[in-house]
Amino acid sequence: MREVYVIGVGLHPFGRFGEKDVIEIGREAVVAALADAGIAWRKIEAAYCGTVFAGPMAGNKALARVGLTGLPIMNLENACASGGSALRLAYQDVASGFRDVALAFGFEKMPRGFIAGNPNDWFAAMGLAVNPQYFALNARWHMANYGVTEDHLVKVSVKNHRNGALNPFAMYRKVMSYDEIASSPMVNDPLRLLMLCAPNEGGAAVILASEEIARQCATKLIRLAAVVLKSPLYGTAEVPYISVSARVEAPSVTRTAAEEAYAAAGVGPGDLDLVELQDTDSAAEIIYSEELGLCERGDGARLLDEGATEINGRIPINASGGLLSKGEPLGASALGQVAEIVWQLRGEAGARQVGDARVGMTHVYGALGNCAVSILQC
């Protein structure tokens, strides 16, 4: 296996863009990544497109507007991990030596409101297939067992909105006060509206290349040290769950994906300088900080209380504003995290720059426990 480098990243901002065509959102992200890498479109040897809502052949439609070069294009849907899955495939191409340059991209224009259930599911008809319910069940359990309080849930959202106000690609780009969040409408107790991320629109693209190609590019060398895609083991509770074993407690998919990524990259949690993780809700940031090994189980709230997760803290979490401020265009989300880490490692993150960042992690978690984790190093 060869080492794999990120030579270019590009985003279309995350937000709501009226009548704008979703295919155009995807095209703009790809063009931005090509410009960032300073590489000609004809040099891209394969493309992997992750999207859930953009429809059949969405990747081909977007790339037809970049140019018809005959490259293979793969369209894939993997819920919140769609972009991470595209990245994994592009990584495999380059790491194996099968190709020298590969593109992973994703884009969305999601329906407004909460994501609908499968029409054939009896439990969706019963009102038991709404994602925030499961986020809330996880949150309540954590509160009952590990001393997480409503105050912590508010503080996560305050932090991420404060960070996101510094990010031109974020949806809200607005500081939200403690009171504003704490008094927003209750959606699924204990989670309030401003403690939940919004489905939205956006695009992201990442270009990977071999070391030889990467050294010809003007951008700083950033190595994709690992990208792992996992599904869950038996005995874990994944969104949405009808029943879960109370006898078998397997490590969560976030934990197993992180452990595999650490092993592949040859680093540990203590080596990380920043993390972008799946804060679909405030409690999720606390829970995943534990499952990614950033602290012991049950210590996530303390990490927050200590200020460790702030941009100037020991282990900044979601310096970009996270999903809470950026929103979550499913197919673009993981690749947007990768773009943020790349900018941070290059020192190009502007007002939200993390000092002396050398190693960063991304993490997405989707329906039925699809999980993708990556580690980037400079």
Binding site: G113, F114, M126, V130, V244, S245
Partner: protein
């Protein structure tokens, strides 16, 4: 009597001793799943037998559904908030269920819950569609402590 049907066949039975959810237990590893399923997801083989699950269990976690879920949600109009919980049953399985109680102040992790079968909505042909729910049990039980810890 008005016609009735379950929201899905095979989810629950109404027995002389009370309502019961129907699950399955693996003859090899003993793991229990709901709803009943011929396939054991741990052994990855068709090794299960159908069993009745206990009508009582402990509340493992809960939330209140405060907005009307998107389609295909059914349910009586106008929409009223409802509880959602995970109930840990003595067979070693936690089941996600609607709760009859919708006041979070009256719910706590670890409390004992009991199953009931109720009318969920009336379908287009005027038939009452039945589904299951859990409600706080009348009397406390020892089971409650094992989950709270």
């Amino acid at each position: 009597m008005k016609k009735q049907r379950p929201i899905k066949e095979g989810l629950f039975e109404i027995r002389a001793e009370g309502p019961r959810l129907v699950g399955s237990r693996c003859r090899e590893c003993g793991e229990v799943t709901f709803p009943a399923n011929p396939f054991c997801p741990q052994c990855c083989r068709e090794t299960t037998e159908t069993i009745q699950l206990s009508g009582r269990g402990a509340l493992y976690s809960f939330t209140i559904q405060r907005f009307k879920p998107p389609p295909p949600f059914r349910g009586s109009e106008p929409f009223a908030p409802y509880g959602v919980g995970m109930i840990e049953l003595p067979e070693g399985v936690r089941v996600t269920s609607a709760l009859e109680e919708s006041d979070p102040e009256r719910l706590r992790v670890g409390m004992e819950m009991e199953l009931l079968i109720t009318k969920f909505f009336e379908d287009d042909e005027g038939i009452d569609v039945l589904s299951f729910k859990f409600k706080p049990a009348a009397a406390p039980a020892q089971l409650a402590d094992s989950v709270a810890q």
